[in-house]
């Protein structure tokens, strides 16, 4: 018997840890992984609510989130590879060509 709020708190914590991650990490791949962590935290929240209201829609949303996350991971990593080829570095602070 666990209060639903615990699951939700866990999900919020995971989300915020992901946010912290993309703020402090210097390797662009690790930043991307933090974003995946955020998505997972949100997924947990959806599943919890689906369980709470006994509706299946929350789980379907998670399904779609997974699909999109997969696509995003593929494209994002391809971009990272392209950037690595162009700039030769994976440090996030060095990729600043958009500076005015």
């Amino acid at each position: 018997m666990i209060p639903i709020s615990w699951y939700l708190l866990l999900s919020a914590t995971l989300f915020c840890l992901g946010m912290v991650g993309f703020l402090i990490k210097r390797n662009v791949i690790t930043v991307f992984m933090s974003i995946e962590l955020m998505l997972n935290g949100v997924n947990l929240s959806f599943v919890t609510f689906a369980h709470m209201w006994h509706k299946v829609n929350g789980q379907i949303f998670v399904f779609f989130v997974m699909v999109v996350a997969a696509a995003e991971a593929a494209v994002g990593l391809a971009i990272i590879i392209a950037i690595f080829r162009a700039r030769g570095t994976l440090a996030v602070d060095r990729i600043d060509l958009m500076k005015l």
């Binding site: 703020l23 996030v92 602070d93 990729i95 600043d96 060509l97 958009m98 500076k99 005015l100």
Partner: protein
């Protein structure tokens, strides 16, 4: 046409709006199409309008005379003009004895001058423009006279100022003419400022600008006198002084002689300059309540009369002599108003219109006949070559000097008699008026001698008499100068009493009045005698006098240096101040400052915001997180604040 059948006779009182409208239509036609129309069409259009208006006014006059004054006043409401809150101003025309008299003068003399202009301006390139402007002037002048409220009168007031500006500067390529036009307009505007203040005060104190309403309100408060009413009257007087060329706003009238001579005759002798007198007569119910203002009016009038007369003594340009004479005679009319003899003032206005217009037109005939010569010192001996002009001019000179039985005698006498009767100040005014009559007689006869008599001083110029279109108006005006006085003598007061109040009855034919008239005629004869001694053929006394009293002579010749005084004391400082304000404050500080501020803030803002675009991914991420936090707080704030009882409703709550 309103035709009302009565038991006997007929009443024909025209639609009042036709009277201004016809000249306006003439203005539109001549103004828009005139350049392309043949000259005879322009002439026809230009003459039909005033003729028709005069016809309507004349028939109305006949009706009033036959039916008696009970048919007047006639008011015509043409709809509401301003209706804002408590301010209601209508398009309201009123015909009463005063406006009927003025209209007769305006349209009658106006028509004669239109006819004269056909001959005088015949060879001008801007012929169509001249007649367009002249008709425009008539439109505004009739509007001014017929107006039933102060605001409509002010429209006409400003309009005649505009027409005057356009006509003075008719030969606009001549710098002096353009400058004179501008000077007239600016000085008029100064007077109009006073008039406007008066209108505002009227509105504030009476709540209405309609003449009848104001008169009624005053009638309901018989004890209301002085105080604010004096202020209103002084403000109105400033306006009248500007328009009627009284001290100190007379300086535009002599310069206005740059315009064509018929313009000087119509606008600056017979009609526009008399608008001030008309306005004072129209608002007499206000002036009657303020003895202080009346005294000021009388002082202004008397001072102007004698001041202008002294300047006219030594002027050498024929038109300038007549201009100063006009200013002086207008002073007489103001004097008449100042001693509450409004009907006498209007009477003098009428006779003055006749003989002053005649004087100007005759002077124009002389100028035209001499091919443009205006200097008196180069004229002479014209009585043989231009007989009609000579005899009509003589009639006018006798009239203005005030000889019995010519027109000026009766009207000037009425004013002087009324002045004499009004207290101790009145006697002073009478003395000043009498002395001015002496000066008037002197300088008019001086002009007469220098221009017409003796031997020609410029024999190489072949003087010729003018054409019939110029001579017929001269003759008609000459007849009016001779007989005009008899029209109003003894009757003017009673005729105008419903409009201007019954204060003085002139020509009461008692002994005092006859005694005073004899003195006046004697004074006029004295003036003629002095002029004869100084200026008859072969006399060098004039030059000797001028060299003996050279300082006063020069003072008068330079018009008391008033123009130069105004220029130094008022015009130049104003120009300097406005240049300073415009160039430094407006241009540099305000506009420059504004531009600097705008551009500076843009540049500064850009410089600040530019630092946001650092290209640094992590700072972007940080700001993203911050934005998310703000949005979250914004969305959930009602939920949290609701616990504390603060109910905000946003973001879908």
């Amino acid at each position: 046409m309103i035709t009302v059948a009565l038991h006997h006779g007929f009443i024909f009182l025209p639609k009042l709006w036709l009277i201004p409208l016809l000249p306006f239509a003439g203005f539109l036609i001549n103004g828009i199409l005139g350049a392309r129309l043949p000259k005879w069409v322009v002439t026809a259009v230009g003459l039909i309008a005033p003729a028709w208006s005069f016809g309507l006014v004349a028939i109305a006059a006949v009706t009033v005379i036959t039916q008696g004054p009970r048919v007047l006043p006639m008011a015509e409401d043409l709809g509401s003009w301003i209706s804002a809150g408590s301010l209601h101003v209508d398009f309201r025309f009123v015909l009463d004895q005063l406006s009927l008299t003025m209209l007769l003068i305006v349209t009658g003399v106006g028509f004669l001058i239109h006819v004269y202009s056909v001959g005088y301006m015949h060879s001008e390139k801007g012929y169509w423009r001249y007649f367009a402007y002249l008709n425009l002037f008539l439109f505004f002048m009739t509007l001014l006279v017929l107006a039933g409220n102060v605001l409509l009168m002010f429209v006409g007031w400003e309009g005649v100022g505009l027409a005057s500006y356009l006509l003075i500067g008719f030969w606009y390529q001549k710098t002096t003419a353009a400058d004179a036009g501008r000077k007239a307009f600016v000085v008029n505007r100064i007077g109009d400022f006073g008039f406007l203040i008066g209108i505002f005060l009227l509105l504030g104190n009476f709540g209405s600008l309609d003449f009848a309403d104001i008169a009624a309100k005053l009638a309901m408060n018989p004890g209301w006198a002085g105080g604010i009413l004096t202020t209103i009257c002084i403000c109105l007087l400033i306006g009248a002084a500007g328009k009627s060329a009284q001290l100190p706003l007379y300086v535009w009238l002599p310069d206005a002689m740059e315009g064509p001579t018929p313009v000087s005759a119509l606008i600056h002798a017979a009609t526009m300059v008399t608008a001030g007198v008309y306005m004072i007569a129209r608002t007499h119910f206000l002036f009657d309540r303020s003895p202080a203002a009346m005294t000021v009016v009388a002082i202004v009038g008397a001072a102007t009369a004698i001041f202008a007369a002294t300047i006219g003594l030594v002027q050498t340009d024929i038109k300038r002599v007549l201009a100063y004479s006009t200013i002086s005679q207008l002073g007489y009319m103001f004097l008449g108003c100042g001693v509450a003899a409004y009907s006498a003032a209007i009477f003098h206005l009428m006779t003055h219109a006749f003989f002053k217009a005649l004087l100007f037109l005759a002077a124009g005939s002389v100028i035209h006949g001499l091919g443009g010569e205006q200097d008196l010192r180069r004229m002479g001996g014209l009585w043989k070559k231009m007989p009609v002009t000579f005899w009509t001019m003589t009639a006018a000179v006798l009239a203005i000097a005030g000889f019995f039985p010519f027109a000026g005698f009766f009207s000037k006498d009425a004013i002087l008699y009324a002045a004499f009767l009004s207290g101790t100040n009145g006697k002073i005014f009478w003395a000043v008026g009498l002395f001015t009559a002496l000066l008037t007689s002197f300088y008019m006869f001086r002009l007469w001698y220098l221009a017409f008599l003796g031997k020609p001083r410029s024999p190489e110029v072949h003087a010729h008499e003018s054409g019939w279109s110029m001579l017929v108006p001269l003759v008609i005006l000459g007849i009016l100068s001779v007989c005009g006085g008899w029209i109003g003598a003894g009757r003017m007061g009673a005729w105008l009493a419903p409009s201007v109040g019954a204060h003085t009855v002139e020509a009461a034919n008692n002994n005092l009045e006859i005694y005073l008239s004899v003195i006046a005629v004697a004074v006029a004869a004295l003036g003629w005698l002095i002029a004869h001694l100084l200026y008859r053929e072969g006399s060098k006394r004039a030059e000797q006098l001028a060299s003996t009293f050279s300082a006063p002579y020069r003072l008068l010749l330079h018009k008391y240096w008033v123009d130069e005084l105004y220029s130094k004391a008022i015009v130049k400082p104003l120009l300097a101040i406005s240049r300073f304000v415009l160039e430094w404050i407006v241009e540099y500080a305000i506009l420059g400052g504004l531009a600097w501020l705008l551009s500076g803030s843009a540049v500064f803002g850009g410089a600040v915001l530019q630092r946001w675009q650092s290209g640094n991914l992590r700072s972007y991420a940080a700001w993203l997180a911050a934005g998310a936090a703000v949005l979250l707080v914004f969305a959930l704030a009602p939920y949290f604040l609701g616990a504390y009882g603060i109910n905000v409703k946003w973001a879908g709550w």
